[in-house]
Amino acid sequence: MINETLLMNGYGLYVWSAFGFTLLSFGSLYLVTKIQYTREKNKFIAKFGNLNSERAAFAKSQSINKEILSNTSSI
């Protein structure tokens, strides 16, 4: 059963490489996108930390800024 699934009558190499390439592309795209997201978010948090209290209060009054700061999602 396992041999049949792996070898697939001699087509295993083609089938597994097609699925492997697809999953590898998914993983790479996900990682690149996640790195870009984390980088931008860290930049935002750093910039926000450098604001003086008056500007920080003004920036915090915008709901989207609050969302970015409060969003602790790991994705």
Binding site: Y14, A18, T33, K47, S73
Partner: protein
């Protein structure tokens, strides 16, 4: 109506959605892979190589769908001056490009056991390759012009030129003699694919749609934070 597309309003949703989409994607993909690699039957002619269809076909469908959506959003965004539509288009493009590349590479892998060659300058394959070039031009244009009015204009022109290629891809198998077989799945008429193969194909398509949604949401959130970063610089 367009006020509902304001980034400030939708960020609260888009920032929380990825983890749920990722969870759903993993479940659907697991079911799809089990169906595609183990449970679905082999083809009487192509044997097990037919399983490549479960990644090749959804990838091709989604890359075409994303490019059509990008064109629609760019044109509507340009006419009605809705910047957020450009942001959505820009966030959709990377997954569209990756699905286009997956369709070409898996098609090439499928071509070797089926046609005896990795590549042929056949109408369908060539037009899909042209679509990759349009995706690259679109993304490079954003990289060069960043987020200004020139970028909106240039990317809209690229998508309008590129969309001419989409019906060519779709009907190339009917218009020319190609190595590709005609469509097996038709919305308006009876499909020629058996339900035992149609089911895994639809499951895999759903998984791929969820993945492109996941990447779109992550990209869109990144773009919004980028804009907010620029906003903080101006404070």
């Amino acid at each position: 109506m367009f006020k509902y597309f304001e980034p400030n309003k939708i960020f609260s949703v888009t920032s929380k959605a990825p983890k749920y989409v990722l969870f759903l994607f993993i479940i659907i993909l697991s079911i799809g892979l089990t169906e595609a690699l183990i449970l679905s039957p082999e083809d009487y002619k192509q044997s097990h190589s037919v399983r490549i269809m479960y990644v090749h076909v959804p990838a091709a469908w989604i890359s075409l769908g994303i490019f059509s959506s990008i064109t629609f959003l760019s044109v509507v965004g340009y006419i009605f001056k809705i910047r957020n539509f450009f942001l959505i288009s820009k966030s959709l493009a990377p997954s569209g490009l990756v699905f286009n590349i997956i369709a070409l590479v898996t098609g090439s892998i499928w071509g070797k056991p089926t046609w005896g060659t990795w590549w042929a300058w056949d109408a369908r394959i060539t037009s899909m390759l042209i679509l990759v070039l349009f995706y690259i031009m679109y993304l490079v244009a954003w990289r060069i012009y960043e987020s200004n009015d020139k970028a909106f204009k240039i990317t809209s022109v690229i998508t309008i030129l590129g969309i001419i290629n989409v019906p060519i891809i779709k009907y190339s198998v009917d218009w020319w003699n190609t190595l590709h077989q005609p469509a097996s799945i038709n919305i308006l008429s009876k499909s020629t694919i058996h339900s035992s193969m149609l089911f895994p194909l639809l499951i895999m398509t759903a998984a791929f749609v969820l993945f492109s949604l996941l990447i779109f949401l992550m990209k869109y959130n990144t773009e919004l934070i980028k804009i907010k970063n620029k906003g903080l610089d101006r404070l």
